[in-house]
Symmetry: D2
Subunit: 376 residues, 4 copies
């Protein structure tokens, strides 16, 4: 047995072993010689292979944190040692965080690759050096749409392979898995109420059923209700469903999906979790005022009019905040898609007219093909 | 295109095309030369290959109807033309039916192959010529257990491959299918209450869920309730479940499973069907007194205190009485099992001590192997 | 027991009992007084309630057959007796069929409700009396898009509630059900290859799995392949999948999806069926030249180079051509949607600019709400 | 917010919150005054409520470790502080472990409650003070059957509610969950081969399918193969299945289920895990000789003739050795069953004749009822 490498290096090596599509896409990335790329993203281990691909292709790369809370210092240091300019550190205070972005923008990037559109928004979408950008989040796309962009930006959030794998399957499965890990409890025989029946809600409902729960679905949209009913899920209103629900998951992308007023309808002992992007789907403030105990990490026991309610992960996106997010092998598809999108951006993409464009299907398909058959 | 053969012959040819395990078992059947076999069974097309196998092996064969209602005259005639002594015709009156059995018993059979144990029961299990028997039904086994048998009888009703395929899967699937065919309606979005959660009930619950129903399960046995709850089925009491149920299936093997008193709790417009062996699981007499219309074959509309209830197939076993029973390809396993059991009976089986015995696992396995790999 | 009404009347009464959303939508239909409606549709029993609603609302109504092969004479006569002008009869020859359409167009309709766009196409979309139309099929929409329309036409084919129920669930379930009914065989233990993984293909794959098949999926689109793989379906190429497939279903909407050249790769004894809209997905001509027997209705046995292949329903849409199409209760949603769409068309819709428009979501939602809660 | 209690106390309090059936059974436990109970079990947190119930009922209680490796010192200390005589500590060496058992036996227990039958086996089943016992494991039951017992012992391993929940569902779900946690990888699109299709294997196959895997099943028993085929699982031989399997789970209860010779047929990069009771199902010694790296806890990378294979949890029972075993809420049923069994043993049970008996169904049902409706 050889001596063990340190944990971080081992984890990165493990990640590499299960990201063959990333490797394949990286190998086919056109030259980025002469490009100055600004990447605004979560500075997490899973992003390392993306940066490696950019550097290999000859780009000059700067990175800013999409959210200081998610920055992993080891990752920032590793990227720095590889030649990426990345001053961010975990929990940078707002002024430091802002200064980093300002400096990065000031360095005159030619291409942007963003999660949340901070760089574009902070420059009104008119930064003169920029020839084009990529945006990975629905929130970012919404911000971009309100700007008079001077360059094309490609939306790869809503592409079918990302929606179809991540949103439709992974979030739900990881949420159910995280429930087991965080509570030490099963879903067998429990009634789970899924609030919101978009792709994420569908995944949660399917996963909860396969984990043994009796699942009900609540969505005010009649077409969504119909879709749930066709799979045998009862579709009560929120008020009618709450008194039966042992566990509630919100997945609506809508603040106030579960208003504070309905808490009194909840079943005694119910668990409340959110898997939508916004922390405001559950009445977090109301619940937080009534916390009486923190019996386990990510679990807060609240007393609401004499009833116990458990708030999970403080109402933040449960599978991420209390779990490990996407598995490495499935994130391989996401990274391959980012690399393909970057290669496309630097070549054909910059020739598109200013404004937001969907990432062309043939670019998506290239990533999907590499993921399905990395050796082909 | 060659000219078409007549329908019956075509159907038989079709059956033969999809029963390779039967053919394989028949080819390996030991000689039955010198044996006089009395077969008491449903005189249905699917039984023809069994008789052919017996005749090929040199047996002298007589047949009686297990139930005059299920006798198909074309089958009886065909068997007769092949050399089987079979006086039965469809809907023979009780005295004729009894006379046929008496004559068959009087002919001094050496081996019995029964469905329901009529021949054995009518002779107290002491017919001197008989060296051994087979029995295919739970009802028959119950009758046999009360007798002081003079010969061994092998029970092949409760063998895992019959229970596991027929009871666990086919009955449920065919019941759901027959519901579509008989009512012209789907199960999408309907609440289905399954009363009785043995193997048959499990199959019905699974099939109804996969046909789009919200399924609930009612079984007084707590272990059965637990098993249902682990798959996410709510488990109300009968009284609590009835007001929600659009469709009710009984599968309890127990007369009076749904007593007449609870009919008033049923949902207006509910469909009531039974897939258990006994017609008495539903309160058929009570319902039949209240029939106001027969809107479709196998459907009776009843008025129960101002509510409409639909009785399906008169409360008889729904998948058989209103549907076509087992598919040909899966019945192949049943026939192969009958042939293997007969071969075993005539050789080793007759040496067993008197009484009821389970059919040995190695005999079952032979049939299962031929079914899984008919060409091996 | 009252005397039984005749079969057609009983069937219509049964249909009415299970179409409460239709009744609810009909009750809310605005006055159509003064409108001359031309309906081009399948003259099937299920369409009767739509015509009744139109007449009740005061419209003058004419009907033409969308396809003479699907016209049911009893329906045409009934509609005639109700006051609809409908000369069509089953299997009208092309010239008669054309003459009916010509006469109907000549009568100067003010509104059109079509399945296939024959009336609009035959007048180049410029008929002066017409103020607006509805179109129910993808084929019709494609025809409309090539015309310079003088009026607005609303597309209700691609609305989520139709796609999500009919395409995603019903076609697949009814195809699996029809396979059992037509062949007398189960899908247990069979390998089913689904070619094409759009909504219909997904429904077929799910249904086949729940009927006990080992399902594989073949779709050249990598995003579709990924989606199938995420549900645990192997995703071979057509050539790699065919030698294992006991049953093949095409659902691609693409002629030549299974080219004649690959027939030699099929497994001996395989069944070939199509559930896509076009009969050309399977190599029907090639197979038809090799038919050696017609062992059952809708089943043709072909000899392809010494191998037996079974062509089902002549390659036409299997669930319709060999089965009964949508159940009555689920068609209720379709009819309610047609009525809501017609009411919208006659009021707000005619004010839209010329061209093809999606049916507004609020109109869809009205139908969905009535279907979910007909009494609300 | 009150100050947080220490972790162990919090965990115990959490456990208590989710074990209402245990509480209910404990409340109904008959007096054990005058009984000296010897409990041989895993000294794990989940066992604490059982001991509390025994003490509350007035018993004098001693405890020995069923396996020194699973002893948790905090648990042993807590039990000691409550009045249980329990000298065991984690990883006691064999001589200390043996001495503890000897002392406990020497103290003259009147009742035994065992997991593995060490106390009974070490005294030949003839210890004079003992009036009866309970045994919780299949291994223990096998040992008991070879002894000439002087007292009755009740087997509660094979009771349906334990088999049906724990074996059939929990092991499979927790194994799939543990795979995610231990490897950081998903099962999406992977081919999982389940070797052994008893209740545990069925649970693994269902869970793996619901986690997105293409599942195949291998079991030499034809009845088991048939059962798997009816659910659409391909059923290759081990040799035919291995080259396709990305992940293999053994669940056969048979040493040598995967012999060393077939390792060369494995797919490069395959993961090998065992969920059966015995560590010998996989060729652990052969694999351990070829370990080249330990990239993550519970993961060993082996080089087998140039191919990489990953051995998980060293071939020990994966869900326990690398995961957290049963969730607290479902273990509630197990504890309630133990308490009911102990109450029965001390009253009626001791009156049974010597030998092994199944735990009567009414005792099981009492536990199941408390679990289903703890407040009833």
């Amino acid at each position: 047995m050889p001596p063990q490498r340190d944990d971080f290096a081992r984890e990165l090596a493990w990640l590499r072993d299960f990201t063959p599509a990333t490797r394949s896409s990286a190998g086919a990335l056109p030259s980025l010689q002469g490009e100055r790329l600004l990447v605004v993203c979560h500075l997490d281990l899973k992003m390392v292979p993306y940066f490696e691909a950019l550097l290999s292709a000859g780009a000059e790369v700067r990175a800013c944190a999409a959210n200081p809370a998610t920055t992993r210092d080891e990752v920032a240091k590793l990227l720095g040692s590889m030649g990426v300019e990345v001053p961010a550190r975990k929990d940078d205070p707002p002024d430091r965080h802002a200064a980093h972005l300002l400096a990065a923008v000031g360095a005159g990037p030619t291409l942007l690759s963003e999660m949340g559109a901070d760089a574009t928004a902070s420059t009104g979408g008119r930064l003169g050096t920029v020839r084009g950008g990529l945006e990975a989040t629905g929130t970012g796309i919404a911000r971009l749409r309100s700007l008079d962009l001077a360059y094309p930006v490609f939306d790869w959030d809503s592409v079918p392979i990302k929606q179809g794998l991540h949103n439709r399957h992974l979030v739900g499965l990881m949420a159910a898995n995280t429930f087991l890990n965080v509570t030490g409890l099963s879903l067998y025989g429990k009634t789970v109420l899924v609030v919101g029946y978009g792709p994420v809600g569908r995944g949660v409902a399917d996963a909860a059923r396969s984990f043994g729960a009796a699942v009900e679905v609540c969505d005010p949209d009649p077409a969504a209700s119909l879709a749930a009913a066709h799979l045998g899920f009862p579709t009560p209103t929120l008020e009618a469903g709450l008194p039966r629900a042992d566990v509630l998951f919100t997945a609506t992308s809508r603040d106030g999906a579960v208003p504070a007023e309905v808490l009194s309808s909840c079943k005694d002992g119910a668990f409340l979790a959110n898997v939508g992007h916004t922390t405001g789907e559950l009445p977090v403030q109301e619940l937080r005022r009534r916390v009486v105990d923190r019996p386990r990490p990510h679990v807060e026991r609240c007393d609401v009019g004499g009833k116990v309610l458990y708030l999970l992960a403080g109402g933040a996106m449960f599978n991420l905040a209390a779990g490990s997010g996407d598995p490495y092998d499935t994130f391989d598809l996401v990274t391959a898609l980012m690399i393909e999108a970057t290669g496309f951006l630097a070549t054909e993409g910059v020739g598109y007219p200013p404004g937001v464009h969907p990432l062309p299907k043939e670019v998506q398909d290239r990533a999907a093909r590499r993921y399905l058959e990395p050796d082909a």
